[in-house]
């Protein structure tokens, strides 16, 4: 079972990837009137996924609308600096998770190798 091999990191990587898509959608819609920015609450999503929900289900249930610091007149709630910050934070999280998975693979390979 790949899930057992990588522990929580497999799910975390999937959630990170989904969150990246959601934040990229926000950045793409920075100029769309009436667009409401969304984000995945990663902590809640990983908790739900850990409790046995599928990653899609976990991501969907923890997707929330962002509360703007300063709402703009056209109803758009994207604030680019926040989105860019969230995007880079998420990218760092993705890299970290990937590193955990990589080291797990290395461990298993070392165990399999015949020297």
């Amino acid at each position: 079972m790949p899930q057992d091999l990588f522990g929580i990191h497999g799910k975390a990587l999937e959630l990170r990837s989904q969150r990246m898509g959601v934040i990229a959608s926000n950045i793409a819609n920075a100029g769309t009137p009436g667009y409401k920015a969304r984000d995945i609450d990663f902590t809640a999503a990983i908790k739900a996924a850990d409790a046995g929900a599928g990653t899609d289900q976990a991501a969907r249930s923890s997707t929330l609308y962002r509360v703007p610091v300063m709402p703009s007149l056209d109803g758009n709630t994207v604030e680019l600096q926040n989105e860019q910050l969230s995007f880079s934070e998420n990218a760092v999280g993705y890299s970290t998770t990937l590193e955990f998975i990589r080291s797990r693979v290395d461990t298993v390979k070392r165990a399999l190798r015949v020297d």
């Binding site: 898509g21 990229a24 769309t32």
Partner: protein, 134 residues
């Protein structure tokens, strides 16, 4: 686009939308100062109108250009009896283009285009890193 939307589709359509916006601003700038003999014939600035396009299957939303519309600004009347296009009152009608606003529009479009490219390259690097995992 066929199949579920992915990050590249979102970025591609977002960038295309910004390009349409930039072209609209460029058209307006090119037509700034053009005159016409009638009020109806004067150039009206065009503006791209965006709307959200949500792909329910993947939860991603991208941008759709719902239309390129004419602004409602009234043509500027100029009294210039020597102009070959002048009407019987000696007036010509010039395009109501605000050059400063158009420049700001272009700047904003190019900044958002850059943001999209930046986000896309980060995402692409992470995907490649995942693919190359030994």
């Amino acid at each position: 686009m066929s199949g579920p939307m992915n990050l590249f589709g979102v970025a591609q359509r977002g960038m295309s939308a910004q390009l349409v916006r930039m072209n609209a601003a460029a058209s307006n700038l090119a037509n700034a100062g053009s005159v016409s003999g009638t009020e109806q014939g004067a150039y009206k600035p065009i503006r791209a109108v965006f709307s959200e396009d949500l792909d329910r299957a993947s939860g991603l939303s991208t941008v759709a250009v719902s239309g390129v519309m004419r602004e409602k600004a009234a043509a500027v009347r100029q009294h210039n009896p020597d102009h070959p296009l002048a009407d019987e009152n000696g007036d010509v009608w010039s395009a109501p283009v605000d050059e400063n606003a158009e420049m700001v529009e272009m700047l904003e479009a190019s900044r958002q285009y850059q943001n999209m490219v930046e986000a896309l390259s980060t995402a692409k690097n992470l995907m490649l890193e995942t693919m190359r995992m030994k």
